[in-house]
C-alpha cells in the first residue's frame, strides 16, 4: 500500500532478468480461479446473449476476458523502490503475461471439461450444459480448451503489452476501452436521452438493433474519445504554460500574489470546480425533460440515495462516526410521514398535507437521533458501529412486530400514502418520477448547502478535529459529546427527509424496505465516492445507484442486478485496500489516511536536501546540523 507500483518504461542497469516461475504460476492460478469463479456464479451465461460490440464480443465473454488482461498487466508491474533500478521492458514481459493468461484460460477449459463429464448441478446451480456451450462455442470440448488457452494467452499478452507502450498511449488506450465499454453498457440511457433530444440518428448509427455498439459505433466512440482527450491535454498544457508565466512574472515583480502561490492555485481550482458544478447542475435540471419514464425513475432513485449519502457523509465523513444503523432514520422519516398523511394509517391518520407532516418529521427524527446517539456516543468507534447496527435492526423489528402493528401496520405496512401537494398547483407522486426527481433535487440542494456551510463552520471544524483525534480535540476545549450528537442529529434529519420523499414516492411503506443492506449501500456510496467531499458523494451515488442500482431499485445494468450486491462488497474491500479515501477524495481526509506515506516522503525529501547541501566548511566531514 505504501509504495506505488510505477510501471517504469526505461532504465539503464540490470539488463539480465529471468522470470520467476513461481510468481507466474501463482498469478496464473489466481487468474484461473477468478475466471472459474465468474463462470460458476453464472455471469457469462446470463450475460451472453447481449452483445457488447455487435458481432465481435458479447457481454458474457467480456465478463470473462478482462481477467487475463488485468492479471497479465499486474504480473508484469513491479514496485519500483526509491533509488533502485527498474527492470527493462521487453518481449519477455509479453511472454510472461501470455503465460499467466494461458494458465487462466486453461482453467476455464478444464472447467468446461469437468462440467461436461461430471454432474455437480446439485450444489452449484450454474453447473449447466449452457456453460459448456459457452466455453466451447458450441464445438467439441477439445476445441474449447485450445481456444481458451489462445484467448487467455492473447489477453494476458495484451495486458502485459500495455507496459511497453509509453505513458500517454497507455492513457489513450485505457480511455478508449473505458469509453467503448461504458457507451455500450449505457445504451438504454443514451438511446433514451438521444430520443428525447430528437437525435435518434446518432443512436441508430452507433447501436445495433439487438443491442450493443456496432463496430462502426465503437470506432466512432473511440475516435471521439481520442479527440476529446487530445483536446483536453492541449488546453491543460496551454493553461500550465500560462500559469508558469504568471508565476514567473509575479516572482519578478515581487507581487503580493506570489506570496501564496498555493492559495492562488487553490482559488483557481475551486473556481473551476464552481463553474463545472454550475454547468452540471443546469444540465441535471434540464436532463429529465429529455428522458423517458424509466430513466427518470432511475434519476429519482439516485436522488433519494444521494440525499441519504449526503446525510451519512456528515456523520461518517465529517465527524468520523461509523453509523451502520443509518437506515433507522430513513425508516423513521418514512413511517412518520406515512402515519401523518395516509388515510389508511392504522393510528392517528390526521391526513396532513406532506409539507405539514414534514414539519413534524423533523423534530421526531431529531429526537430519535438524540435517543440513539446519546447512549452510543461515548463508545469506542467499532462498538459504536455494531451498536448502531443493532439499533437499525431494532427499529425495523419494531415496525415489523405485532406489538406495534396497531400503530404502524406491522408486516402489512401502511398503504395509500398520498403524494406531495405543492401549494395546490401540482402533486408529486410515484407516477410522475420527473416531479419526484425535482423534489429530491430540491432537498439535495438544501443538504448540500447545509453540509457545505457546516463544513466551514466552527462545528464542522470541531467534527474534523474529532475525526482526526478525539482526545486531542477534547483537550483543545471541544465539547466532543455535543459535537458528535449534533452530527448524529443532522444526519438523522437529512435521512428523514429522504424517508419522507420515499414514502410519498412509493405510496406505501413496508418494514422490509429498511433492512441493514440499505445502510451498507449508503456507506459504500460515501466511501467509494470519497468520504467528506460532497462532489465525491454525488459521484458515488450516480455511479453506484445509477449503474448498479439500489437495494431493491434497478440500475442501468439490469443484467447485473443479481450480482450487484456481490459487486458492492468487492468494491468496498477493493476501495479500502487500494484507495480508502475514495474516488474524489477530501484533501484533509486523504492526508489523514496516508499520513505514514506522506511523512516518509517528507523524510526522503529531507534526506535529499541534506545530501544536496554543500558540506559545512567549518566542520568538514560533519553532517550539517538539522
Amino acid at each position: 500500500m505504501t509504495a506505488t507500483s510505477v510501471p517504469a518504461t526505461a532504465s539503464s542497469s540490470e539488463p539480465q532478468w529471468s522470470p520467476d516461475p513461481r510468481r507466474l504460476v501463482s498469478y496464473g492460478a489466481i487468474c484461473a480461479l477468478t475466471m472459474v469463479f465468474i463462470c460458476l456464479i453464472g455471469m457469462p451465461v446470463k450475460l451472453d446473449p447481449r452483445p457488447l460490440i455487435d458481432p465481435i464480443l458479447s457481454r458474457g465473454y467480456a465478463s470473462l476476458v478482462w481477467v487475463p488482461v488485468v492479471f497479465g498487466y499486474s504480473v508484469t508491474s513491479f514496485v519500483v523502490l526509491e533509488g533502485m533500478a527498474a527492470r527493462r521492458r521487453g518481449p519477455s514481459d509479453v511472454l510472461e503475461g501470455a503465460i499467466v493468461g494461458a494458465i487462466g484460460g486453461l482453467g476455464v477449459g478444464i472447467l468446461g471439461l469437468l462440467v461436461d463429464n461430471f454432474d455437480l448441478r446439485d450444489p452449484l446451480i450454474n453447473w449447466s450444459p449452457q456453460l459448456v456451450d459457452f466455453i466451447t462455442f458450441g464445438n467439441s470440448i477439445g476445441f474449447g480448451i485450445v481456444i481458451w488457452l489462445v484467448i487467455g494467452a492473447l489477453c494476458g499478452a495484451a495486458g502485459a503489452g500495455l507496459h511497453l507502450l509509453p505513458e500517454t498511449v497507455r492513457l489513450y488506450v485505457a480511455s478508449v476501452v473505458l469509453a467503448v465499454v461504458g457507451m455500450s453498457f449505457l445504451e438504454t440511457a443514451a438511446t433514451d436521452l438521444l430520443q428525447g433530444l430528437k437525435l435518434e440518428f446518432i443512436s441508430d448509427a452507433i447501436y445495433a438493433k439487438q443491442g450493443g455498439l456496432t463496430v462502426r459505433g465503437a470506432v466512432i466512440v473511440a475516435v471521439l474519445t481520442v479527440a476529446g482527450l487530445a483536446l483536453g491535454r492541449f488546453i491543460r498544457a496551454n493553461q500550465q504554460r500560462a500559469a508558469a508565466g504568471r508565476a514567473e512574472a509575479d516572482l519578478a515583480t515581487g507581487g503580493g500574489a506570489s506570496l501564496t502561490p498555493v492559495g492562488g492555485a487553490m482559488r483557481r481550482r475551486s473556481n473551476r470546480e464552481l463553474v463545472l458544478g454550475g454547468l452540471g447542475i443546469v444540465g441535471l435540471l434540464l436532463l429529465p425533460q429529455f428522458l423517458g419514464g424509466i430513466m427518470n425513475e432511475l434519476l429519482a432513485n439516485v436522488g433519494l440515495f444521494l440525499l441519504l449519502a449526503l446525510g451519512l457523509n456528515i456523520v461518517v465523513g465529517l465527524a468520523g462516526i461509523l453509523d451502520l444503523g443509518y437506515v433507522a432514520f430513513f425508516a423513521v422519516g418514512g413511517y412518520t410521514t406515512a402515519v401523518l398523511t395516509s388515510p389508511n394509517a392504522p393510528w392517528l391518520h390526521p391526513e396532513l398535507p406532506w409539507f405539514v407532516a414534514l414539519l413534524i418529521v423533523i423534530p421526531i427524527a431529531a429526537l430519535v437521533g438524540l435517543l440513539i446517539g446519546a447512549p452510543v456516543i461515548r463508545m469506542r468507534g467499532d462498538y459504536l458501529a455494531i451498536v448502531t447496527l443493532g439499533f437499525g435492526e431494532i427499529i425495523r423489528l419494531l415496525f415489523l412486530s405485532d406489538w406495534l402493528a396497531p400503530y404502524f401496520g406491522g408486516a402489512q405496512g401502511i398503504t395509500n400514502i398520498p403524494g406531495v401537494q405543492i401549494f395546490g398547483i401540482a402533486t408529486v407522486s410515484g407516477t410522475d418520477p420527473k416531479a419526484v426527481f425535482y423534489l429530491v433535487m430540491g432537498f439535495c440542494a438544501l443538504a448540500i448547502y447545509v453540509s457545505w456551510r457546516l463544513e466551514r463552520s466552527r462545528l464542522g471544524r470541531a467534527w474534523m478535529a474529532i475525526r482526526e483525534d478525539e482526545k486531542v480535540a477534547e483537550a483543545m476545549g471541544i465539547n466532543t459529546v455535543n459535537a458528535k450528537l449534533a452530527a448524529f442529529v443532522t444526519g438523522a434529519i437529512l435521512a428523514s427527509f429522504s424517508g419522507a420523499i420515499f414514502a410519498a414516492k412509493v405510496g406505501s411503506i413496508f418494514p422490509n424496505s429498511f433492512e441493514i443492506l440499505v445502510s451498507v449501500i449508503i456507506l459504500v456510496i460515501v466511501i467509494v465516492g470519497g468520504m467528506g467531499r460532497i462532489a465525491g458523494v454525488a459521484l458515488g451515488a450516480v455511479v453506484l445507484i445509477g449503474i448498479l442500482g439500489g437495494p431493491s431499485q434497478p440500475g442501468l445494468l439490469q443484467e447485473l442486478a443479481e450480482y450487484k450486491l456481490l459487486i458492492y462488497g468487492a468494491l468496498l474491500v477493493w476501495m479500502m485496500l487500494k484507495r480508502p479515501e475514495g474516488l474524489l477524495p477530501n484533501v484533509r481526509r486523504s492526508r489523514e489516511l496516508h499520513h505514514e506515506e506522506l511523512s516518509q516522503d517528507a523524510w526522503l525529501k529531507a534526506q535529499e536536501i541534506e545530501a544536496a547541501a554543500p558540506p559545512d566548511p567549518e566542520y568538514p566531514g560533519w553532517e550539517t546540523p538539522a
Binding site: 439499533f391 423489528l397 459529546v481 456481490l566 468496498l572
Partner: protein
C-alpha cells in the same frame, strides 16, 4: 482520596450523562416490572397485578420453561463457539471481524453439501458417526481456509491503518462472501438430510425424571464442551497459545521475543475459523436448514456474546454466549409476555440487541472483564 476523585466527576456531569442514567433507570424498571408481572402470573394468572399487566395471561408451565432454557443453552453454546473467533481476533488485532458470521455460514453451507452427497451415496444413515465426522472435517477445513485467506487478502495489508478501516473492509468481505454463496448455490433454502432416528429421540439426562433432551442437543453440548476445552488447552497450555497471548498483549515486544507475529495472527484466524466451523455443523444439525443469510444474525449475536463476556476473554465468550442464548430464549416470555405484549417471539432478536446495548451501558468491559492489549484498551 475518594473525595478528590469524586469531586470533578460531579461537576462534569453533562446532560448526556443524565440521559444515560435515565435510560439505565428505565431499563431496570422495565425488567423489574416484567419480572414482577411474571412472578405474579406464575403465582396465579388471576391475581390483580397479573390481570393489570396482561389480561389474557397464562401460567408458563415448568416443562415449557425447561424447554426454553435448554434450547437457549443450546443456541448459546453455539453463539459462544462463534464468539471465540470474534474475541480472539479482537484481542489480537483490535478490530471487529464482521465477516466472521459469514465464515460460520460457509461452514453450515459446506456441511449441507457434504451431508447431502453422503446421503445420496447412502452413507449418511448407515454410517452416521463416521459420516458426521467426515462432514465436520470438511466444514472445519472450509471455514479455516476461508478465515486464513480472508486475513491474507483483506486484513493483512491493512494492519496499522486507522481501526475503522479494517472494520469497513470486513463489512465488505461479509457482503461479498454472502453473495458469493447466493451466486454459487442459489438463494433458495437448503435442507440437511434427515437425521437417524436415535439422534432425534429424547433422552432422560442425569436420571432426572422430566428432564428429557433430544439427542441432537446432547451432541451439541458434548461437542461444544470438547471444543472449548481443546481451545482452552491450546491457548493456555501450548507454546503457540502462549505466543498468541503474547501477540495479543503487545505485538512489537512479541516480535522482539522472537515470535513470528504474522504466523501467530494467521493461527488466530485459523482457530477462530475452526471454531466457527464446528458451530456451523452443530447449527446445521439443529436447524437442518441453511440460506446465504444464515450467518448474519448469529454473527452479530456472537459478537454481542463476546462483548457480554468481555472481549479477548475466552471463557467470557462462552459464558456470554450462554447468557445471550438463554436471555433471548427466555427473555421474551418472561419479561415481555407478562406485560401483555403480543407476538413476543418476533422480538427475540430485538431482545438480543437490547442486551448488547444494556451491557455497553452498564458494564462496557463485559461481565468477566476484557483482555486487550495496551493500545486497544485506550
Amino acid at each position: 482520596m475518594t473525595t478528590a476523585t469524586r469531586a470533578p466527576t460531579a461537576t462534569q456531569r453533562t446532560n448526556v450523562d443524565r440521559f444515560l442514567t435515565l435510560i439505565r433507570i428505565a431499563l431496570i424498571t422495565f425488567v423489574t416490572v416484567g419480572l414482577l408481572a411474571f412472578i405474579a402470573q406464575q403465582i396465579s394468572p388471576t391475581n390483580p397485578f397479573a390481570e393489570w399487566a396482561n389480561p389474557g395471561a397464562d401460567r408458563l408451565t415448568g416443562s415449557a420453561f425447561r424447554e426454553l432454557v435448554i434450547s437457549g443453552l443450546n443456541i448459546g453454546v453455539m453463539y459462544g463457539l462463534i464468539a471465540l473467533g470474534y474475541s480472539m481476533v479482537y484481542g489480537v488485532l483490535g478490530f471487529i471481524n464482521f465477516a466472521h458470521g459469514e465464515v460460520f455460514m460457509w461452514s453450515v453451507m459446506s456441511g449441507w453439501i457434504t451431508s447431502e452427497k453422503l446421503f445420496e451415496a447412502g452413507l449418511w444413515e448407515d454410517f452416521f458417526i463416521p459420516a458426521l465426522l467426515f462432514t465436520v472435517l470438511v466444514s472445519v477445513t472450509v471455514s479455516t481456509t476461508l478465515a486464513v485467506v480472508m486475513e491474507r487478502v483483506a486484513y493483512r495489508p491493512l494492519r496499522g491503518s486507522p481501526r475503522l478501516i479494517p472494520l469497513i473492509t470486513s463489512i465488505g468481505v461479509s457482503f461479498f462472501l454472502q453473495n458469493v454463496a447466493i451466486g454459487l448455490f442459489g438463494p433458495a433454502a437448503k435442507r440437511y438430510p434427515q437425521l437417524p432416528e436415535w439422534m432425534s429421540k429424547r433422552y432422560e439426562v442425569f436420571g432426572i425424571p422430566g428432564l428429557e433432551v433430544e439427542g441432537t442437543k446432547i451432541l451439541i453440548f458434548v461437542v461444544s464442551t470438547i471444543s472449548m476445552v481443546g481451545l482452552w488447552y491450546y491457548v493456555e497450555r501450548t507454546k503457540t497459545g502462549k505466543a498468541m497471548r503474547a501477540v495479543a498483549e503487545d505485538k512489537e515486544i512479541a516480535a522482539l521475543m522472537g515470535i513470528d507475529v504474522d504466523k501467530t495472527i494467521v493461527r488466530t484466524f485459523a482457530v477462530g475459523g475452526a471454531m466457527a466451523g464446528v458451530a456451523g455443523i452443530l447449527w446445521g444439525l439443529l436447524f437442518r436448514s441453511v440460506v446465504a443469510t444464515t450467518g448474519f444474525l448469529p454473527g452479530i449475536k456472537a459478537f454481542t456474546a463476546a462483548v457480554l463476556g468481555g472481549v479477548g476473554n475466552l471463557g467470557g465468550a462462552m459464558a456470554g454466549g450462554i447468557t445471550l442464548g438463554v436471555g433471548e430464549s427466555v427473555g421474551p416470555l418472561v419479561l415481555l409476555e407478562p406485560l401483555g405484549i403480543p407476538g413476543v417471539s418476533q422480538l427475540k432478536d430485538a431482545v438480543a440487541f437490547v442486551l448488547l446495548i444494556a451491557v455497553l451501558l452498564f458494564k462496557p468491559s463485559g461481565l468477566f472483564g476484557e483482555r486487550l492489549s495496551a493500545e486497544d484498551r485506550a
